[in-house]
Subunit: 155 residues, 4 copies
């Protein structure tokens, strides 16, 4: 039995229209290739990625910081209402076979740090090139292609 690739998408909890569009494309590309999208389940990059994946027919998972399922954005399919606050960032990072990092702030940085520490490949999209170990791509399609390439042999 072969399970689908899980890709965690991390990034800012709020997004202007450019960032929202980029994150939506990342989600869409993941779904089109048959991946499962994992994220923090809230707004901004998380919502846009879920929306893109969901509208393309893909499965989305939201690992929420709070204990209430209703906090999830409307495009989350499976909801994990952890109640463990910022510690849920560690679970988001670890639940990806690969992590795709869009522009974000401290929370996103913590997720990248844990992903790298636990040996996950991290692909930045137009961001995070200053952190050693992050591979940067310029658009959604290439980022997701690289994610599948990196994870290809390992499950």
């Amino acid at each position: 039995m072969k399970r689908p690739l899980q890709i965690s998408v991390v990034g800012a909890g709020s997004a202007d229209s450019n960032l929202y569009k980029l994150a939506k494309e990342v989600g869409e590309q993941i779904a089109l290739r048959g991946g499962v999208l994992v994220c923090g389940g809230l707004g901004g990059v998380m919502e846009a990625a879920c929306r893109g994946a969901s509208e393309a027919g893909g499965l989305t998972v939201g690992i929420l910081p709070g204990p209430e399922a209703k906090e999830a954005n409307p495009w989350v399919g499976v909801i994990i209402p952890t109640g463990i606050g910022h510690a849920r960032n560690v679970l988001v990072a670890q639940s990806g076979d690969v992590v795709i990092a869009l522009p974000g702030e401290r929370g996103t940085m913590s997720e990248i740090a844990i992903a790298l520490k636990t040996g996950r490949p991290v692909i930045g999209v137009r961001a995070w090139g200053d952190i050693e170990g992050v591979e940067v791509e310029v658009d959604a399609k290439n980022a997701v292609a690289k994610a599948f390439e990196f994870a290809g042999g390992e499950r």
Copy 2:
């Protein structure tokens, strides 16, 4: 948009053939009604329930105590490798709109306690009648029917 009901199944990490059969039926019934099965992702009751749901075409989620996806039983569809040890029991309990509890030990008891504390209905199957607040059913079909009935109006 209406997401499917999430039902957490908790119980012993090892199972004799009777308990395995019962847990498999619970998983199967959940899938047949369109629910998502959430569990701890390991062996025994968790494996049997995942197997029953998966073979009936349903989606299964395994919230693992360890940080490695490969610990999951083969019938887990979405893997959350938390690395948070016994604290993952809290997440299993909270990720169900309803919790179905099969025979088990201390770990199962901790999940029932958290589910009740956070206001989830808990349905015991041939067990846990000694904990106030647990409704006991005698077979898989009735337990899952009651789970859907309890959760019916609330999402």
Copy 3:
């Protein structure tokens, strides 16, 4: 180097005057014997036990569910503001070499379950005799004496 015994005290988050007095005596006895009191850091049994220990010159540790140190009761010496919600119950249980359980509800039950699962002795005080593996004592002095006896040889 020999560190002092750590004793976790668990019980209800609110307490009538009888329960408050009992918990305060438990805290006091722990401090008089040189133990460190660990608890959930909030009100009721937790507050009373911290107060008893603190007023007797002992060290107290509060492992809070929320992320804010100010939620701690005033008799907590060392504050761990976890932000992990109910999952902090697991840490309270695991941080005791022994666990003393006073009357409480579901949260307390989850702590007892985890303590037993992870091999800690659990001493109930006027409660929890219905859970297999819990030793019940009738007063604070005997409960704390038994806690030190149980943990005596193991660090």
Copy 4:
């Protein structure tokens, strides 16, 4: 009642003699000023800081990733054996009124990110000047002095 300042010290889990000496001085300075030292409880920077604080008569707290108290270094006074793995980094960051960051790797980066996200001042010692929001000092004495200055008014 005024509790002592809690200062979290984060940094690499292994240390050469220069880094060990620096971390030991940080611990010592914290103890001399009456602060409580919080850290991850393991080796390297964590051990050196605990040792410095403990030998100067201060209280030390180790928030361990694993569930076993015996993993703590010998200079930890209060042991929190969380069993929550890398998620314990979030607790280390949040348990400091201020965070002092010595040279380290990804784990340390995750702690700095969470500390900044949750509004704690972060003081780097000979490191982390590339992360916006970190104030860098060149020696232990100045770093600890600044930590007390930053936290001065807020408890």
